[in-house]
């Protein structure tokens, strides 16, 4: 024992997933449960002149029908982050109603909920509802929404802005740019993405009249936050009489962080009819109602001196927020984006401005990486383009500008120009390792040879950094967060020495059942099988903040370690008493307290039993062993790495084949290498999906053209190469495990590597830029135009 950390233990949760015995919300069947169907607007912007539910209400099996009118008295869905205008005006937060009454603002906006004895009856009755719409004009693009005379999303907001925002030093950035020898300027579109978790959102509201208590079963990434938002801000129901349960969840990728209207709706409706109400999204509903990601229109410029040193960076972004402000929407294109524009580079001056803009589209919020991929994409496209323009090698230009290595212990953290202080990093080391794994010099030669034969091979780099382990509560509070971002843990030692670990973070694919058990097993020196990880139930777990932003192990794992320390501290007292020794003379090894230099020892299980059967117990010590801990991190953590993609473009068809993908990450210490590899692989697939395949397309009338899998291209195994994944370790200096987080790295770093590689392949044709996704047709057209 004591050697679990660092082992690729097989995931203990996989058995239930693979054998179809997971417990997802839609699997739950409650007595007297009803089924809901939500009628949604098929128009992107429309006045609702009337809603006639008469026929639906008297249809077979219908229990109730509610419209926007019926829920008009209920508060809207709140936003968890406030970003005020630069001139001090407070952020504009138009009401996001549970169902719309007067106007629908995007395709998929809820108009009515039908509740019936069966799903089929609810669906049939919805067809009987008559809605009289008056179609209004639509704007779907953020920059167009800012133009004078653009259609207005909210009547009271003529310029469609929720806020504007800036960060950095404008004067310094202007000066740095003015004295630059070379400036690379690009217009960059980071397209809108749809998360497409395999499990659609699913909720059951269950009001108990007997106990005057509410239970919400939800496919959420953070049950406590949902409970808080729903109870205190939306429904005004007592938090202590509301239980939120989020058992197995089939993927989130950000889209299940947020509090959604349907959660509050089924909870409220259940109280109205005094029966449980279940709603599960259909896939086509998920496409238009799960919060989307990204959608930035950006102009960015990077200045260089004549030796290739970066002198300044200026960025302006119009960020599409959709029709309403989702839970974390304001934070994503600001504090999770602008603050990452330092990248791995010693850029001396940075200035960024952002408009947060309403449009007639589905709300946009965090999506794997959330703001950090957008920042990384523009930095890495700029530096790659600059290298080509200045005739320099893209790897060398990066290394020339890297921040020198610092461990955060001997050397201080690195203070960026954009508010953050990096904890520790050695950027050149991951780059060098990636170059080695790739065999860079040989590959450039191969590329030369291939070009002579008319083949288009390209090599693309991406050196990313991200901020994980969110976050120090006081820091985020000063930046507008309306919540703290600590994490909770409870360790309950059972009389038999088995241990229940409750965590406020939430697993929806990350493997917490395994990783967290490894941490606990190591710290207690007991077997993995003797530990159970419990999450996702507000009645069992102390108030926690959930899982997103690659925070679970860095923040949630640290909370567990703190609670385990308290367990060991108390255990030592009990052991000392039983061994008739002093605490100072004990050492705890392999699950046993031993009197140093003797063979006198007592095991963890015996101490546990003695604590619950305290016949012979230290005087004044309470029985039992159970401890809570709330861990508030001292800083963000900053994983980083270098990715290199090698692609070949078929010039005849425009198809891109990824020949190799080398990913060297530094995510700090690693608890389970296999799980980290898995997280990296999944992230790479998602980031490559954005580069080559995915993208939400709206037409001018606000219809989502890519609203099914016939049109929205998800990455599949055969779109991807066998990844070459490697790692360096620069431990995080400020958390007990030295871990940084690995959930988003792949999705953040891979996208620009692919685009850089394709552009590198096509550079001989004079192609300098391509807009994502790089579909065959787009690449073919670029080649065609270049040849013409």
């Amino acid at each position: 024992m004591g050697k679990m950390i660092g082992e690729s233990i097989k995931r203990v949760e996989d058995h239930r997933f693979i054998t179809g015995t997971g417990e997802y919300t839609d699997d739950i069947v409650l007595p007297r449960m009803t089924h809901a169907y939500i009628l949604r607007s098929h128009l992107a912007h429309a006045k609702i002149k009337s809603v006639d539910t008469t026929a639906a209400k008297s249809a077979d099996g219908v229990v109730a029908v509610f419209t926007g009118e019926d829920v008009a008295h209920i508060n809207g869905i709140p936003t968890g982050w406030q970003v005020n205008f630069t001139d001090g005006e407070v952020m504009r937060e138009p009401k996001h109603p549970l169902l719309v009454k007067d106007k629908a603002l995007h395709v998929g906006d809820g108009v009515a909920i039908v509740i019936a004895e069966s799903k089929e009856q609810a669906r049939d009755a919805a067809d009987l509802i008559e809605v009289d719409y008056e179609e209004l004009s639509v704007v779907v693009d953020a920059s167009k929404a800012l133009e004078a005379g653009a259609p207005m999303v909210h009547d009271e907001l003529p310029d469609n802005r929720a806020f504007d925002w800036q960060l950095g030093d404008k004067v310094a950035a202007d000066t740095g740019m003015a004295k630059a020898h070379h400036v690379t300027k690009m217009r960059i579109r980071n397209q809108r993405m749809i998360a497409n978790a395999i499990e659609p959102r699913s909720y059951i509201g269950d009001y108990s009249k007997a106990r005057d208590k509410y239970t919400l079963y939800t496919s959420s990434q953070n049950p406590h936050v949902i409970r808080l938002l729903m109870c205190a801000f939306v429904l005004g129901i007592p938090e202590h009489k509301t239980r939120v349960v989020s058992k197995d969840v089939g993927g989130g990728f950000g889209s299940k962080i947020f509090h959604y209207a349907e959660e509050a709706l089924v909870t409220w409706a259940s109280q109205q009819i005094a029966r449980p109400v279940k709603w599960t999204a259909e896939r086509s509903e998920a496409f238009v109602t799960d919060a989307h990601g990204r959608d930035h229109n950006t102009i960015a410029e990077m200045g260089f001196d004549k030796d290739g040193n970066i002198t300044a960076l200026r960025v302006h972004t119009d960020a599409n927020l959709g029709a309403y402000l989702s839970t974390f929407a304001p934070a994503i294109p600001t504090y999770l984006y602008g603050t990452l524009l330092q990248g791995q580079y010693v850029t001396p001056a940075i200035h960024v401005t952002v408009n947060g803009v309403f449009t007639h589209t589905t709300p946009v919020d965090a999506y794997r990486g959330a703001g950090r991929p957008e920042a990384t994409y523009l930095l890495e496209r700029l530096i790659d383009t600059a290298a080509a323009e200045m005739g320099m090698d893209p790897a060398e230009l990066r290394m020339k500008n890297f921040i020198p290595a610092f461990d955060g212990v001997e050397q201080p953290g690195y203070q960026t120009q954009v508010a953050l202080q990096y904890d520790s990093g050695d950027y050149e080391a991951t780059m060098r390792k990636a170059l080695d794994v790739l065999g860079y010099n040989d590959l450039r030669k191969e590329q030369e040879e291939a070009r002579k034969q008319g083949r288009y091979i390209g090599i693309g780099f991406s050196s990313y950094i991200e901020a994980c382990g969110i976050a120090p509560s006081a820091v985020v509070g000063s930046l507008g967060a309306r919540a703290g971002l600590y994490e909770s843990a409870n360790v309950r030692v059972q009389p038999t020495g088995k241990v229940s670990v409750h965590t406020g973070s939430h697993s929806h694919g990350q493997g917490h059942d395994t990783t967290f058990a490894q941490v606990a097993a190591d710290h207690l020196g007991i077997a993995l099988e003797d530990i159970e990880i419990i999450h996702g139930d507000t009645e069992q777990v102390p108030f926690g903040m959930g899982t997103y932003g690659s925070r679970s192990l860095a923040v949630g794992g640290s909370a567990i370690v703190k609670a385990l320390d308290k367990v060991k501290e108390k255990g030592a007292k009990v052991a000392a008493h039983l061994l008739e020794a002093s605490e100072q003379d004990l050492e705890y090894i392999d699950g046993k307290w031993t009197v140093k230099g003797t063979d006198k020892s007592i095991g963890f299980g015996e101490v546990a039993l003695a604590s619950y059967v305290p016949h012979n117990f230290p005087e004044g010590l309470e029985p039992g062993i159970e401890f809570n801990s709330f861990y508030d991190p001292a800083n963000f953590t900053y994983p980083f790495g270098t990715y290199i993609a090698v692609v070949e473009v078929d010039a005849e068809t425009g198809t891109t084949e990824i020949k190799r993908f080398v990913a060297v990450d530094d995510v700090g210490n690693v608890v389970n290498p296999m799980i980290v590899d898995g997280q990296v692989h999944g992230g790479l697939a998602q980031g490559i999906g954005q580069a080559l395949l995915e993208g939400a397309v709206y037409d001018e009338s606000g219809q989502l053209t890519t609203g099914t899998y016939l049109d929205y291209a998800m990455p599949r195994a055969d779109d991807l190469p066998s990844f070459e994944v490697d790692r360096n370790v620069t431990p995080c200096p400020h958390n007990p495990l030295g871990v940084k987080g690995c959930g988003e790295a792949g999705a953040i770093g891979s996208t620009p590597a692919i685009v850089n590689a394709v552009v590198d392949a096509l550079r001989p044709l004079g192609i300098k830029d391509l807009e994502m996704p790089l579909t065959p047709q787009k690449v073919w057209a670029a080649i065609h135009n270049a040849n013409a």
Binding site: E120, D124, S284, T653, T706, L710, D719, W780
Partner: protein
């Protein structure tokens, strides 16, 4: 994803299916593998009040070598077509097409008859059916009739099968030319239906192209034979140059489909690339 309520009948034979169809008329629909129809019903794009399931009709599930042709029952699944030795040896273009459809689950349920009756302009089979000069056996109240591939595909979503008829069998001639056939597909990245699918069968006895058939899937409103390419290549010595010249005439004069993700220009250009690739594969 809930369809409108419907009545369900499971037919035990072709005759029973036909009589159920006669009884229920226009509101009835035949169910084969359900892999086009059930999604449409769940989206309420198709709302039959009666569904007649052919799943229990055992004599439609054969793949038999009849000497001069292979007889394929309408209810043979894509998987059966893909894994049939006789099809693989004597009509490889059909095997290639079947193997390229959806994923294993889809291929285990979806049937060649269902796909051919559905006649989705984006489907894979029409190209190979045309290039292999197959014929379709259609059965109705007044008996069976046999329709050639060129007469079978009528218009968008429309085939020679009338509302009171069933497609019961597909017959693929077992000629040496058909044994020298293939299907090359450029899949749409999202749906994996073909942007362009090109099937060719080439008779190359003596180094010249004595006969060639070229069938396209996914390019026009219905599958079609490309007479430009066929005319340009027939009688020519087979070489990279003659193949390219012939392939470059593909889709001339043909209405080519386009949508938000694929322009007419691109699809036309890809038709030529894929015609060349297919012809190169079995022509050289």
């Amino acid at each position: 994803m809930v369809p409108v309520a419907f009545e369900y009948h499971r037919a035990g034979s072709v005759a029973e299916a036909l009589s159920l169809m006669a009884q229920h008329g226009e509101d009835a629909k035949i169910l084969a593998g359900g892999h086009s129809m059930v999604p449409a019903m769940k989206l309420r794009l198709s709302t039959p009040t009666t569904v007649i399931d052919l799943g229990g009709v055992s004599d439609l599930k054969h793949i038999t070598d009849k000497g001069d042709h292979i007889a394929i029952g309408a209810m043979a699944t894509h998987w059966m077509v893909e894994s049939s030795d006789v099809i693989s040896a004597k009509a490889p273009a059909l095997r290639d097409a079947a193997a390229s459809i959806g994923d294993v689950q889809v291929r285990n349920r979806g049937t060649i008859g269902g796909a051919m009756a559905h006649s989705d302009p984006a489907a894979d089979y029409p190209g190979p059916i045309l290039a292999l000069d197959a014929s379709m056996v259609i059965q109705g109240p007044s008996g069976q009739r046999v329709v050639s591939a060129t007469d079978y595909f009528v218009a968008l979503w429309e085939t020679a099968v009338q509302p009171d008829e069933l497609l019961v069998e597909i017959r693929v001639p077992t000629t040496p030319m058909n044994a020298n056939s293939c299907y090359e597909k450029f899949a749409q990245p999202a749906s994996r239906y073909p942007y362009v699918g090109c099937a060719v069968a080439v008779d190359k006895s003596g180094g010249t192209c004595s006969d060639v058939r070229v069938g396209f899937s996914g390019v026009g409103h219905v599958g079609f034979r490309d007479s430009n390419v066929e005319g340009a290549l027939k009688g020519q010595a087979l070489s990279a140059a003659s193949i390219k010249a012939a392939a470059d005439t593909a889709t001339n004069g043909v209405d080519v489909l386009s949508d938000w993700s694929v322009s007419e220009d691109y699809r036309r250009a890809m038709s030529r690339v894929y015609a060349r690739r297919a012809l190169t594969k079995v022509g050289l």
